[in-house]
Amino acid sequence: MYNANKVIIGIIVFLIFFAMPFWLNFGKVEALPKPELPKEEKKCIEDTDYMKAYHMKFLDEWRKTKVREGKVYYINKEGKIYKMSLQRTCMKCHDNKEKFCDRCHKNLVVQPDCWKCHLAPEEVKKWQ
């Protein structure tokens, strides 16, 4: 092999760059933080798989129908009626933002702007 020094440095740089996930995790493998689910309620408004993937679309839809059309109630697939409210409906069961919302969001670099206007249950408690 010719120009061995430079080539080996090149290979190392290549490995450092493309194996970055490996290096960044190196030596600190731990379980992903799990969101804490409500203990009493077993069922969310819609089924769990749907909520996991689409909750942001779902909430956005609620926001639009409530603010623009003035509707207050949501009827789920089973015919159950819910009041469209993040703070009063969702956070009633999911009563800890930090342990439920943030764990995933922080982990996946998602910065929803819900909390610019809404108050997290923890905050509400502080005020009460």
């Binding site: 092999m1 061995a4 090149g10 493998v29 996991k52 993937a53 942001m56 996946l108 670099v109």
Partner: protein
């Protein structure tokens, strides 16, 4: 013909996970085994290619000099175009690799009467830059799936990239730019007569493959949403070598996306895509133009037989004497010895 062939190959590549996961239910094969295999091919393949190139020496220093050489002290020397020292070479390579300087050279504006015209070549530079840089940013962004506590630079890049808060979730700028770049590069191959004429299936295929990867990614972000938490469980497991199939539902689209990425990785070392590492080896760019200042060694240089002065003088002795050109007796003796 070449395009159609590439489209067929791409269709097959999309069908494989559809059947493999959707019909046969081979989830762990497609989620764990194939990605590992593909990336092993990617790493070992590329390192093999690098070493393979390095096994051949570069016998002569054949820098392409696109600017004034370093010569007399009062003549301005073009440091980038005709580098004379190592750091000038590094600078030239930097501009070459990160800003595609040689392609940029095509930039030219002309006036035809009153109309300002730009040839297609400038667009080539722009298309290439858009595509390559978007690809890089997208790759860095994807680190959020592979690292538990996402480093702050990834967070910052993501934040900048989603600067325009359009919709929920916000659209990434690079997602649009990469499609624009790729679309241009593909369109160019179809429309520009001379490029069309020299394009093979192996030119269309990588473009189509990367376009499909980008499209499946964008679809997942905006429309057909997967369970991100489950995906991160899988990808984090892969990155830390603790692979496990998560409990949640990985959507079909995700399997297709993952399989196409794996295909790209495995295809990489055996295709023209190796230009990514090959460009660093290019002898016309990575060598200084200092041939007359320092020596370059060719490991296989061998002596050649030539007509020596002594032989030549013997051959022409008569005419030399007649013309009054001096005869070198010293060298006559050398010949006789």
């Amino acid at each position: 013909m070449n395009l159609i062939f590439s489209l067929i190959v791409l269709a097959i590549l999309i069908l494989i996970p559809l059947i493999g996961v959707g019909v046969l239910g081979l989830s762990s094969l497609f989620a764990i085994f194939i990605p590992y295999l593909a990336f092993a091919i990617f790493f070992f393949g590329l390192i093999y290619r690098i070493i393979d190139w390095a096994r051949s020496p570069q016998p002569y220093k054949i820098t392409t000099t696109s600017g004034q050489q370093k010569s007399l002290s009062w003549i301005k020397h073009s440091r980038l175009e005709s580098p004379a020292s190592s750091w000038e070479v590094y600078l030239r390579m930097f501009f070459e690799v990160f800003l595609f300087r040689s392609l940029f050279r095509n930039l030219r504006a002309d006036f035809d009467g009153k109309r300002l015209i730009y040839g297609s070549a400038k667009w080539l530079w722009l298309g290439a830059i858009l595509f390559h840089f978007s690809f890089l940013v997208i790759m860095i962004r994807h680190l959020r799936f592979f690292v538990n506590e996402v480093p702050s630079f990834v967070q910052k890049i993501s934040a900048v990239d989603s600067f325009f808060q359009l919709g929920v979730p916000p659209i990434y700028i690079t997602d649009i730019l990469i499609l624009a770049g790729l679309g241009f590069l593909l369109l160019r191959r179809l429309v520009d007569a001379k490029v069309n004429y020299l394009s093979y299936a192996s030119d269309y295929f990588p473009l189509l493959l990367i376009i499909s990867i980008a499209l499946t990614g964008i679809l997942m972000r905006l429309y057909v949403k997967p369970d991100l938490y489950a995906i991160k469980q899988l990808t984090y497991g892969l990155a830390t070598f603790n692979p496990a199939l998560p409990k949640g539902n990985l959507s079909m689209l995700f399997y297709i996306h993952l399989f196409l990425v794996s295909s790209l990785a495995a295809y990489f070392p055996f295709s023209k895509l190796v230009h990514m590492v090959g460009v660093f080896f290019s002898p016309t760019r990575n060598m200084p133009n200092d041939n007359r200042m320092s020596r370059h060694i060719n490991p296989w240089e061998y002596p050649v037989k030539y007509v020596t002065y002594a032989e030549w003088q013997e051959k022409f002795r008569d005419v030399l004497e007649e013309a009054g050109i001096p005869i070198d007796e010293e060298w006559t003796n050398v010949a006789q010895k």
